[in-house]
Amino acid sequence: MVSFMRDLYFSGIHDILNLINEHKYQEARGLIQRELQNYRENEVRARRLQLDAIVQSIFQLNLQIHFIQEQYRNLAELCPPDLLSSVDEFITILKLDKVELEAQKKLLARGV
């Protein structure tokens, strides 16, 4: 009789512990899920910040290319274009920068 009571007592404790274990497991899972959600939101926010910076740079580069090309066209009326090879070179550098930024933008937008 005493042995039976003892078994009952232990199995009761065991069941309670199992319940606590399950509860704690669910609680921990919930916390981890919430943290992962925060992480994903942070990731999106960070990527958006980077994309914004790149888009601003591309916009700025477009303006620079436009102004320099305009200046170059004006000068081409007054002197032969081959005499201003360095301006050509500079425009090419600006365009290459722009292409690089566009590629970076695409990669970031894809989440790579």
Partner: protein
């Protein structure tokens, strides 16, 4: 009622109070405790294991959460650094192109004002071209 109570006979088979001892005679309490403990040991171990499991699970969840938070912080720091770097690069590019634009503008004004003097114009254009090349190759 009080009369009837008086009439009732006294109970002759009234039980005497018996006091049992905690440990009945003839049983060694220490031995009994030890054997009970030994019998319960496997179940106690299972319970202890459950408690340890709960603690371990909590600890591993805390570590996981800490790692995820650190990853998020790193991501934010990386993004901030990238934005700063991009801003600096943009500013530097603006300075460069502003300088070149002003130089070209000056050249344009000069060429407009001295349209007949070809040699001087050519020399100035070459000088501008060379200084631009030097500026770009720095």
């Amino acid at each position: 009622m009080s009369e009837r109570k008086q009439l009732l006979p006294k109970s002759s088979s009234r039980k005497e109070e018996v006091v049992y001892e905690v440990c009945p005679p003839g049983i060694d309490l220490k031995k009994e405790t030890a054997s009970t403990f030994l019998r319960s040991l496997p179940k106690l171990l299972v319970i202890i294991e459950s408690v340890v499991n709960i603690k371990n699970m909590q600890a591993s969840a805390d570590v996981e959460i800490k790692i995820i938070r650190e990853m998020g912080d790193n991501l934010q720091k990386q993004a901030d650094a990238f934005v700063k770097e991009e801003h600096a690069r943009r500013e530097s590019a603006i300075t460069d192109s502003e300088f070149i634009r002003r130089l070209l503008n000056d050249l344009y004004i000069f060429l407009k004002s001295t349209q007949n003097n070809d040699d001087v114009q050519k020399a100035v254009i070459e000088t501008v071209n060379q200084s631009l090349q030097k500026y770009l190759s720095r």
